[in-house]
Point group: C2
Chain length 230, copies 2
Protein backbone atom coordinates (compact mmCIF):
# COMPACT_ATOMS: atom_id res chain seq x y z
CA UNK A 1 0.00 0.00 0.00
CA UNK A 2 2.79 2.39 0.92
CA UNK A 3 4.53 1.49 -2.30
CA UNK A 4 1.36 2.12 -4.23
CA UNK A 5 0.94 5.59 -2.76
CA UNK A 6 4.56 6.49 -3.18
CA UNK A 7 4.91 5.76 -6.92
CA UNK A 8 6.59 9.07 -7.67
CA UNK A 9 7.42 8.78 -11.31
CA UNK A 10 4.04 9.14 -13.03
CA UNK A 11 2.77 12.07 -11.00
CA UNK A 12 6.13 13.88 -11.10
CA UNK A 13 6.46 13.28 -14.83
CA UNK A 14 2.93 14.48 -15.52
CA UNK A 15 3.41 17.67 -13.51
CA UNK A 16 6.58 18.26 -15.47
CA UNK A 17 4.81 17.69 -18.80
CA UNK A 18 2.08 20.19 -17.97
CA UNK A 19 4.76 22.78 -17.07
CA UNK A 20 6.61 21.95 -20.27
CA UNK A 21 3.43 22.40 -22.28
CA UNK A 22 2.98 25.87 -20.74
CA UNK A 23 6.58 26.86 -21.42
CA UNK A 24 6.92 25.46 -24.91
CA UNK A 25 3.63 27.14 -25.84
CA UNK A 26 4.88 30.45 -24.49
CA UNK A 27 1.80 30.65 -22.26
CA UNK A 28 1.76 33.34 -19.59
CA UNK A 29 -0.28 33.84 -16.42
CA UNK A 30 -3.96 34.18 -17.34
CA UNK A 31 -3.67 32.22 -20.60
CA UNK A 32 -6.01 29.28 -21.04
CA UNK A 33 -4.81 25.68 -21.21
CA UNK A 34 -6.49 22.93 -23.24
CA UNK A 35 -9.47 21.29 -21.51
CA UNK A 36 -9.01 18.49 -19.01
CA UNK A 37 -10.34 16.05 -21.59
CA UNK A 38 -7.79 17.17 -24.17
CA UNK A 39 -4.94 17.12 -21.64
CA UNK A 40 -5.70 13.62 -20.39
CA UNK A 41 -5.90 12.37 -23.99
CA UNK A 42 -2.70 14.13 -24.96
CA UNK A 43 -0.79 12.65 -22.02
CA UNK A 44 -2.60 9.30 -22.22
CA UNK A 45 -3.64 9.30 -18.57
CA UNK A 46 -6.94 8.97 -16.74
CA UNK A 47 -8.79 12.02 -15.51
CA UNK A 48 -8.06 11.31 -11.81
CA UNK A 49 -4.36 11.09 -12.59
CA UNK A 50 -4.48 14.32 -14.56
CA UNK A 51 -6.46 15.98 -11.80
CA UNK A 52 -3.81 14.93 -9.28
CA UNK A 53 -1.14 16.71 -11.30
CA UNK A 54 -3.30 19.80 -11.80
CA UNK A 55 -4.16 20.03 -8.10
CA UNK A 56 -0.52 19.85 -7.28
CA UNK A 57 0.19 22.72 -9.64
CA UNK A 58 -2.80 24.65 -8.37
CA UNK A 59 -1.64 24.45 -4.74
CA UNK A 60 1.41 26.48 -5.66
CA UNK A 61 -0.27 28.92 -8.03
CA UNK A 62 1.14 27.48 -11.26
CA UNK A 63 -2.32 26.80 -12.68
CA UNK A 64 -5.78 27.97 -11.77
CA UNK A 65 -8.90 25.87 -12.23
CA UNK A 66 -11.96 28.05 -12.59
CA UNK A 67 -15.23 26.37 -11.81
CA UNK A 68 -17.19 25.84 -15.00
CA UNK A 69 -14.70 27.76 -17.05
CA UNK A 70 -11.46 25.88 -17.56
CA UNK A 71 -7.81 25.67 -16.67
CA UNK A 72 -5.57 28.72 -16.78
CA UNK A 73 -1.90 29.49 -16.21
CA UNK A 74 -1.63 30.73 -12.61
CA UNK A 75 -0.34 34.09 -11.49
CA UNK A 76 2.51 32.58 -9.44
CA UNK A 77 4.08 30.32 -12.08
CA UNK A 78 7.09 32.53 -12.69
CA UNK A 79 7.73 33.50 -9.09
CA UNK A 80 10.97 32.52 -7.39
CA UNK A 81 9.58 32.53 -3.84
CA UNK A 82 6.04 31.81 -2.63
CA UNK A 83 4.29 31.80 0.74
CA UNK A 84 3.90 28.30 2.15
CA UNK A 85 0.32 27.32 1.16
CA UNK A 86 0.12 24.83 4.05
CA UNK A 87 0.91 27.37 6.69
CA UNK A 88 -1.94 27.93 9.09
CA UNK A 89 -0.93 29.24 12.50
CA UNK A 90 1.95 31.53 13.26
CA UNK A 91 3.50 30.94 16.67
CA UNK A 92 4.45 33.99 18.76
CA UNK A 93 8.17 33.56 18.19
CA UNK A 94 7.60 33.17 14.43
CA UNK A 95 5.52 36.36 14.36
CA UNK A 96 8.34 38.33 15.97
CA UNK A 97 10.93 36.77 13.64
CA UNK A 98 8.71 37.65 10.74
CA UNK A 99 8.53 41.27 11.87
CA UNK A 100 12.32 41.31 12.29
CA UNK A 101 12.64 39.94 8.75
CA UNK A 102 10.38 42.73 7.47
CA UNK A 103 12.46 45.24 9.47
CA UNK A 104 15.62 44.03 7.78
CA UNK A 105 14.19 43.96 4.24
CA UNK A 106 11.54 46.65 3.87
CA UNK A 107 13.46 49.80 4.91
CA UNK A 108 16.20 49.42 2.24
CA UNK A 109 13.48 48.45 -0.25
CA UNK A 110 11.69 51.75 0.56
CA UNK A 111 15.01 53.49 -0.15
CA UNK A 112 15.19 51.71 -3.54
CA UNK A 113 11.63 52.86 -4.23
CA UNK A 114 12.62 56.47 -3.48
CA UNK A 115 15.46 56.17 -6.00
CA UNK A 116 13.56 54.40 -8.77
CA UNK A 117 9.80 55.02 -8.54
CA UNK A 118 8.35 56.23 -11.84
CA UNK A 119 5.21 58.40 -12.18
CA UNK A 120 3.01 55.32 -12.58
CA UNK A 121 4.39 53.78 -9.35
CA UNK A 122 3.75 57.05 -7.51
CA UNK A 123 0.20 57.21 -8.85
CA UNK A 124 -0.41 53.67 -7.59
CA UNK A 125 0.97 54.47 -4.15
CA UNK A 126 -1.20 57.59 -3.89
CA UNK A 127 -4.29 55.68 -4.99
CA UNK A 128 -3.62 52.94 -2.42
CA UNK A 129 -3.33 55.45 0.42
CA UNK A 130 -6.40 57.37 -0.72
CA UNK A 131 -8.23 54.04 -0.61
CA UNK A 132 -6.94 53.35 2.90
CA UNK A 133 -7.98 56.87 3.94
CA UNK A 134 -11.57 56.05 2.96
CA UNK A 135 -11.60 53.03 5.28
CA UNK A 136 -10.11 54.61 8.40
CA UNK A 137 -13.50 54.60 10.12
CA UNK A 138 -14.85 51.64 8.21
CA UNK A 139 -14.45 47.89 7.93
CA UNK A 140 -11.24 46.37 9.25
CA UNK A 141 -10.81 44.00 6.33
CA UNK A 142 -10.82 46.79 3.75
CA UNK A 143 -8.37 48.92 5.71
CA UNK A 144 -6.04 45.96 6.28
CA UNK A 145 -6.12 45.19 2.59
CA UNK A 146 -5.30 48.77 1.66
CA UNK A 147 -2.48 48.93 4.22
CA UNK A 148 -0.91 45.69 2.97
CA UNK A 149 -1.30 47.03 -0.57
CA UNK A 150 0.84 50.00 0.39
CA UNK A 151 3.72 47.74 1.43
CA UNK A 152 3.34 45.63 -1.73
CA UNK A 153 3.18 48.73 -3.94
CA UNK A 154 6.31 50.14 -2.29
CA UNK A 155 8.13 46.88 -3.05
CA UNK A 156 6.89 47.04 -6.64
CA UNK A 157 8.14 50.62 -7.00
CA UNK A 158 11.59 49.41 -5.91
CA UNK A 159 11.80 47.55 -9.23
CA UNK A 160 13.09 44.18 -8.02
CA UNK A 161 10.47 41.46 -8.59
CA UNK A 162 12.26 38.91 -6.39
CA UNK A 163 12.27 41.26 -3.39
CA UNK A 164 8.61 41.98 -4.18
CA UNK A 165 7.85 38.25 -3.99
CA UNK A 166 9.69 37.92 -0.69
CA UNK A 167 7.76 40.82 0.85
CA UNK A 168 4.47 39.57 -0.61
CA UNK A 169 5.15 36.14 0.92
CA UNK A 170 5.87 37.63 4.35
CA UNK A 171 2.76 39.81 4.22
CA UNK A 172 0.55 36.91 3.09
CA UNK A 173 1.47 34.61 5.91
CA UNK A 174 1.29 36.79 8.95
CA UNK A 175 -1.84 38.57 7.91
CA UNK A 176 -4.34 36.89 10.23
CA UNK A 177 -2.52 37.07 13.55
CA UNK A 178 -1.12 40.51 12.95
CA UNK A 179 -4.52 41.80 11.93
CA UNK A 180 -6.19 40.43 15.04
CA UNK A 181 -3.75 42.23 17.27
CA UNK A 182 -3.58 45.47 15.34
CA UNK A 183 -7.35 45.62 15.02
CA UNK A 184 -7.72 45.86 18.76
CA UNK A 185 -4.69 47.79 19.86
CA UNK A 186 -3.19 49.78 17.04
CA UNK A 187 -3.75 53.40 16.19
CA UNK A 188 -5.23 53.45 12.69
CA UNK A 189 -4.72 57.14 12.17
CA UNK A 190 -1.05 56.97 13.20
CA UNK A 191 -0.41 54.05 10.83
CA UNK A 192 -2.00 55.97 8.01
CA UNK A 193 0.05 59.08 8.78
CA UNK A 194 3.24 57.00 8.80
CA UNK A 195 2.35 55.54 5.39
CA UNK A 196 1.70 59.07 4.08
CA UNK A 197 5.08 60.23 5.37
CA UNK A 198 6.87 57.29 3.70
CA UNK A 199 5.12 58.12 0.42
CA UNK A 200 6.21 61.74 0.82
CA UNK A 201 9.85 60.68 1.10
CA UNK A 202 9.51 58.39 -1.93
CA UNK A 203 7.89 61.22 -3.93
CA UNK A 204 10.74 63.52 -2.91
CA UNK A 205 13.28 60.91 -4.01
CA UNK A 206 14.77 61.01 -0.50
CA UNK A 207 16.10 57.44 -0.10
CA UNK A 208 17.59 57.92 3.35
CA UNK A 209 14.39 59.40 4.74
CA UNK A 210 12.18 56.74 3.13
CA UNK A 211 14.36 54.03 4.68
CA UNK A 212 14.28 55.62 8.13
CA UNK A 213 10.53 56.26 8.09
CA UNK A 214 9.81 52.68 7.02
CA UNK A 215 12.02 51.41 9.84
CA UNK A 216 10.28 53.59 12.44
CA UNK A 217 6.88 52.52 11.11
CA UNK A 218 7.67 48.79 11.35
CA UNK A 219 9.21 49.29 14.80
CA UNK A 220 5.90 50.88 15.86
CA UNK A 221 3.99 47.88 14.51
CA UNK A 222 6.40 45.51 16.26
CA UNK A 223 6.17 47.29 19.61
CA UNK A 224 2.35 47.09 19.56
CA UNK A 225 2.48 43.36 18.78
CA UNK A 226 5.31 42.63 21.19
CA UNK A 227 3.46 44.32 24.03
CA UNK A 228 0.47 42.03 23.49
CA UNK A 229 2.48 38.84 23.19
CA UNK A 230 4.62 39.21 26.28
CA UNK B 1 -15.60 18.37 -18.04
CA UNK B 2 -14.26 21.67 -16.83
CA UNK B 3 -16.72 21.57 -13.98
CA UNK B 4 -15.66 18.06 -13.12
CA UNK B 5 -12.01 18.99 -12.95
CA UNK B 6 -12.65 22.14 -11.00
CA UNK B 7 -14.61 20.60 -8.08
CA UNK B 8 -12.56 22.37 -5.46
CA UNK B 9 -14.31 21.42 -2.27
CA UNK B 10 -13.37 17.76 -1.79
CA UNK B 11 -9.68 18.10 -2.59
CA UNK B 12 -9.30 21.32 -0.57
CA UNK B 13 -11.18 19.84 2.36
CA UNK B 14 -9.11 16.66 2.31
CA UNK B 15 -5.82 18.57 2.22
CA UNK B 16 -7.06 20.59 5.16
CA UNK B 17 -8.05 17.45 7.08
CA UNK B 18 -4.61 15.89 6.62
CA UNK B 19 -3.00 19.11 7.89
CA UNK B 20 -5.43 19.16 10.81
CA UNK B 21 -4.57 15.55 11.62
CA UNK B 22 -0.87 16.48 11.75
CA UNK B 23 -1.48 19.50 13.95
CA UNK B 24 -3.99 17.99 16.33
CA UNK B 25 -1.67 15.00 16.77
CA UNK B 26 1.26 17.29 17.55
CA UNK B 27 3.23 15.62 14.75
CA UNK B 28 6.49 17.26 13.71
CA UNK B 29 8.70 16.98 10.62
CA UNK B 30 9.98 13.40 10.32
CA UNK B 31 7.07 11.86 12.25
CA UNK B 32 5.15 9.09 10.53
CA UNK B 33 1.53 9.40 9.49
CA UNK B 34 -0.96 6.52 9.38
CA UNK B 35 -0.79 4.37 6.25
CA UNK B 36 -2.56 5.38 3.06
CA UNK B 37 -5.12 2.62 3.69
CA UNK B 38 -5.87 3.91 7.18
CA UNK B 39 -6.06 7.53 5.99
CA UNK B 40 -8.45 6.77 3.13
CA UNK B 41 -10.67 4.77 5.52
CA UNK B 42 -10.55 7.47 8.16
CA UNK B 43 -11.55 10.17 5.69
CA UNK B 44 -13.92 7.88 3.76
CA UNK B 45 -12.36 8.61 0.37
CA UNK B 46 -10.90 6.46 -2.40
CA UNK B 47 -7.15 5.95 -2.66
CA UNK B 48 -6.79 8.11 -5.83
CA UNK B 49 -8.55 10.97 -4.07
CA UNK B 50 -6.35 10.58 -1.01
CA UNK B 51 -3.28 10.38 -3.21
CA UNK B 52 -4.31 13.62 -4.91
CA UNK B 53 -4.34 15.40 -1.56
CA UNK B 54 -1.04 13.85 -0.47
CA UNK B 55 0.69 14.77 -3.74
CA UNK B 56 -0.48 18.31 -3.29
CA UNK B 57 1.01 18.42 0.19
CA UNK B 58 4.18 16.70 -1.00
CA UNK B 59 4.78 19.30 -3.72
CA UNK B 60 5.19 21.93 -1.04
CA UNK B 61 7.15 19.85 1.45
CA UNK B 62 4.31 19.38 3.96
CA UNK B 63 4.46 15.59 3.68
CA UNK B 64 7.00 13.18 2.32
CA UNK B 65 6.11 9.86 0.73
CA UNK B 66 8.96 7.39 1.00
CA UNK B 67 8.87 4.56 -1.46
CA UNK B 68 8.07 1.32 0.33
CA UNK B 69 8.21 2.96 3.71
CA UNK B 70 5.27 5.23 4.36
CA UNK B 71 4.07 8.79 4.71
CA UNK B 72 5.91 11.26 6.90
CA UNK B 73 5.50 14.87 7.98
CA UNK B 74 7.67 16.94 5.63
CA UNK B 75 10.55 19.19 6.62
CA UNK B 76 8.91 22.31 5.18
CA UNK B 77 5.52 22.12 6.87
CA UNK B 78 6.20 24.89 9.37
CA UNK B 79 8.02 27.22 7.02
CA UNK B 80 6.64 30.65 6.24
CA UNK B 81 8.29 30.99 2.82
CA UNK B 82 9.25 28.28 0.32
CA UNK B 83 10.96 28.24 -3.07
CA UNK B 84 8.48 27.89 -5.94
CA UNK B 85 8.55 24.14 -6.72
CA UNK B 86 7.37 24.80 -10.30
CA UNK B 87 10.19 27.13 -11.13
CA UNK B 88 12.46 25.78 -13.83
CA UNK B 89 14.37 28.39 -15.77
CA UNK B 90 15.65 31.66 -14.44
CA UNK B 91 15.72 34.43 -17.01
CA UNK B 92 18.79 36.70 -17.11
CA UNK B 93 16.96 39.65 -15.57
CA UNK B 94 15.59 37.43 -12.81
CA UNK B 95 19.06 36.10 -12.04
CA UNK B 96 20.38 39.64 -11.57
CA UNK B 97 17.36 40.63 -9.46
CA UNK B 98 17.92 37.53 -7.39
CA UNK B 99 21.54 38.48 -6.79
CA UNK B 100 20.44 42.02 -5.87
CA UNK B 101 17.96 40.51 -3.42
CA UNK B 102 20.74 38.43 -1.87
CA UNK B 103 22.92 41.56 -1.74
CA UNK B 104 20.24 43.40 0.19
CA UNK B 105 19.47 40.57 2.63
CA UNK B 106 22.63 38.54 3.25
CA UNK B 107 25.09 41.23 4.40
CA UNK B 108 22.95 42.40 7.37
CA UNK B 109 22.20 38.73 8.11
CA UNK B 110 25.96 38.08 8.29
CA UNK B 111 26.16 40.98 10.76
CA UNK B 112 23.41 39.35 12.86
CA UNK B 113 25.39 36.10 12.76
CA UNK B 114 28.50 37.91 14.05
CA UNK B 115 26.45 39.25 16.95
CA UNK B 116 24.59 36.06 17.85
CA UNK B 117 26.49 32.95 16.70
CA UNK B 118 26.95 30.43 19.50
CA UNK B 119 29.79 27.86 19.68
CA UNK B 120 27.69 25.23 17.93
CA UNK B 121 26.94 27.62 15.03
CA UNK B 122 30.64 28.42 14.72
CA UNK B 123 31.53 24.71 14.72
CA UNK B 124 29.03 24.13 11.90
CA UNK B 125 30.42 27.02 9.85
CA UNK B 126 33.99 25.74 10.28
CA UNK B 127 32.97 22.21 9.32
CA UNK B 128 31.19 23.46 6.22
CA UNK B 129 34.24 25.40 5.04
CA UNK B 130 36.58 22.51 5.82
CA UNK B 131 34.29 20.38 3.66
CA UNK B 132 34.42 22.96 0.85
CA UNK B 133 38.22 23.08 1.18
CA UNK B 134 38.38 19.36 0.45
CA UNK B 135 36.50 19.83 -2.82
CA UNK B 136 38.41 22.81 -4.23
CA UNK B 137 40.10 20.58 -6.78
CA UNK B 138 37.32 18.04 -6.96
CA UNK B 139 33.78 17.61 -8.22
CA UNK B 140 31.79 20.75 -8.94
CA UNK B 141 28.59 19.44 -7.39
CA UNK B 142 30.22 18.79 -4.03
CA UNK B 143 31.91 22.17 -3.91
CA UNK B 144 28.71 23.95 -4.91
CA UNK B 145 26.84 22.15 -2.19
CA UNK B 146 29.41 23.07 0.44
CA UNK B 147 29.45 26.71 -0.70
CA UNK B 148 25.66 27.00 -0.56
CA UNK B 149 25.80 25.32 2.86
CA UNK B 150 28.02 28.14 4.06
CA UNK B 151 25.40 30.74 3.15
CA UNK B 152 22.63 28.66 4.74
CA UNK B 153 24.68 28.08 7.90
CA UNK B 154 25.41 31.81 8.17
CA UNK B 155 21.68 32.52 7.98
CA UNK B 156 21.04 29.89 10.65
CA UNK B 157 23.67 31.42 12.92
CA UNK B 158 21.80 34.73 12.62
CA UNK B 159 19.01 33.14 14.65
CA UNK B 160 15.99 34.25 12.58
CA UNK B 161 14.27 31.23 10.99
CA UNK B 162 12.16 33.34 8.63
CA UNK B 163 15.21 35.07 7.16
CA UNK B 164 16.82 31.62 6.93
CA UNK B 165 13.85 30.40 4.88
CA UNK B 166 14.04 33.42 2.59
CA UNK B 167 17.75 32.88 1.94
CA UNK B 168 17.28 29.13 1.51
CA UNK B 169 14.54 29.82 -1.05
CA UNK B 170 16.74 32.22 -3.01
CA UNK B 171 19.66 29.78 -2.97
CA UNK B 172 17.49 26.84 -4.03
CA UNK B 173 16.08 28.49 -7.09
CA UNK B 174 19.05 30.05 -8.75
CA UNK B 175 21.33 27.14 -8.10
CA UNK B 176 21.45 25.68 -11.59
CA UNK B 177 22.11 28.78 -13.68
CA UNK B 178 24.48 30.33 -11.20
CA UNK B 179 26.41 27.09 -10.91
CA UNK B 180 26.79 26.75 -14.65
CA UNK B 181 28.29 30.20 -14.93
CA UNK B 182 30.46 30.05 -11.83
CA UNK B 183 31.74 26.59 -12.75
CA UNK B 184 33.31 27.96 -15.88
CA UNK B 185 34.36 31.44 -14.98
CA UNK B 186 34.68 31.87 -11.27
CA UNK B 187 37.77 31.62 -9.15
CA UNK B 188 37.18 28.77 -6.69
CA UNK B 189 40.09 29.65 -4.45
CA UNK B 190 39.04 33.29 -4.20
CA UNK B 191 35.47 32.32 -3.28
CA UNK B 192 36.77 30.00 -0.61
CA UNK B 193 39.07 32.68 0.79
CA UNK B 194 36.17 35.14 0.91
CA UNK B 195 34.06 32.62 2.82
CA UNK B 196 36.95 32.06 5.26
CA UNK B 197 37.26 35.81 5.81
CA UNK B 198 33.52 36.14 6.50
CA UNK B 199 33.76 33.30 9.03
CA UNK B 200 36.72 35.05 10.64
CA UNK B 201 34.66 38.21 11.14
CA UNK B 202 31.75 36.17 12.56
CA UNK B 203 34.12 34.36 14.94
CA UNK B 204 35.53 37.72 16.04
CA UNK B 205 32.01 39.02 16.64
CA UNK B 206 32.76 41.89 14.26
CA UNK B 207 29.31 42.62 12.81
CA UNK B 208 30.36 45.56 10.63
CA UNK B 209 33.18 43.59 9.05
CA UNK B 210 31.05 40.46 8.49
CA UNK B 211 28.46 42.64 6.74
CA UNK B 212 31.02 44.36 4.54
CA UNK B 213 32.83 41.13 3.60
CA UNK B 214 29.57 39.42 2.68
CA UNK B 215 28.65 42.40 0.50
CA UNK B 216 32.00 42.38 -1.29
CA UNK B 217 31.76 38.60 -1.76
CA UNK B 218 28.30 38.78 -3.34
CA UNK B 219 29.35 41.74 -5.50
CA UNK B 220 32.21 39.56 -6.78
CA UNK B 221 29.76 36.77 -7.61
CA UNK B 222 27.46 39.27 -9.30
CA UNK B 223 30.20 40.82 -11.39
CA UNK B 224 31.27 37.41 -12.70
CA UNK B 225 27.69 36.53 -13.64
CA UNK B 226 26.91 39.98 -15.04
CA UNK B 227 29.96 39.87 -17.29
CA UNK B 228 28.76 36.61 -18.84
CA UNK B 229 25.19 37.73 -19.31
CA UNK B 230 25.81 41.03 -21.01
Amino acid sequence: MAQDVARPSLSDALTERVLELIRSGGLRPGDRLPSARELSERFAVTTPTLREALRRLEATGAVQMRHGSGIYVGADLERVVIPNPNFRELQSDQLLQLLDARLLIEPPVAAMAARRADPSDLATLRAVLDQAGCHLDGADAELDKANMSFHRATAKAAGNAVLGEVIDSLLSVHAAEQRAILRIFDDRARDHDEHRAILGAIEAGDAGRAEELMRVHLLDVKSVIEARLT
